[in-house]
Assembly symmetry: C2
Homo-oligomer: 141 residues x 2
């Protein structure tokens, strides 16, 4: 049995065509690739798969609940998804070409924890998005 099927089962999800296909798309993506539901829907169409947009949303939401993917709210009104990896990471997004770089920085995390403590909060989640211009290799769209 394939690897992705095991992942799905582990998450308590039946192995269905839409779920497998969507998982494969996410899996194939490189680091920094983030897909909207619409993106995935279009990719499925190109592959000739007959999957409804509603199903894409449902599957992504299930994947998120199962911890398989993370959802991000970048600026611009819609959510994007990526396969959850071991380590939490933050994002820097080029506002011109849309390129996304990811990074992990313990100094930032620690300082955030300190601040939360000072303010009397217990952190459950955090989102840091940096926006800017990538100074080299920016394929300005």
């Amino acid at each position: 049995m394939s690897l992705e099927n095991q992942e799905l089962r582990k998450a308590g999800l039946k192995v269905t065509l839409p779920r497998v296909k969507i998982y494969q798309i996410l899996e194939k993506a490189g680091e920094g690739d983030h897909f909207s539901a619409e993106d995935i829907y279009k990719l499925l169409m190109e592959l000739g798969e007959d999957v409804g947009l509603a199903t894409v949303y449902r599957v992504l939401t299930q994947f998120e609940a199962a911890g398989l993917v993370s959802r991000h709210h970048f600026e611009g009104g819609h959510s994007v998804f990526e396969l959850a990896r071991d380590e939490d990471h933050d994002h820097i997004v080029c506002v011109k070409c849309g390129k996304v770089r990811e990074f992990v920085d313990n100094q930032l995390i620690q300082r955030q924890n300190e601040i939360a403590k000072e303010l009397g909060f217990t952190i459950t989640d955090r989102t840091l998005y940096l926006y800017g211009l990538c100074t080299e290799g920016c394929e300005k769209k």
Copy 2:
């Protein structure tokens, strides 16, 4: 002429009743208060002002363009606004009671700048939202 009227003129916006009223609402808010368009619309209704929701959106968008307010995308699908103050600040939001605390931390900012530099980016904007539970005085809704 009143102070808020000057602010509006300075921003190149004509002094109209909706704009003044909305500016006043934002001005009266305490630190940590953030309003959605709907919030402001309801407040206007309570004040007996006959302002349409579409106008609230338009005015807030204009205020944002003029740099008078900042728009934030907290989790939950809708935007919230606050009067722009001199200093940029980050937010920590209680996921139970919705309370928002603001903070400014140069250590965080500097580290973010370093990271951006390492990755070859010039930062134009950033958003850090911490989510958690306020351990004291949480009016759990």
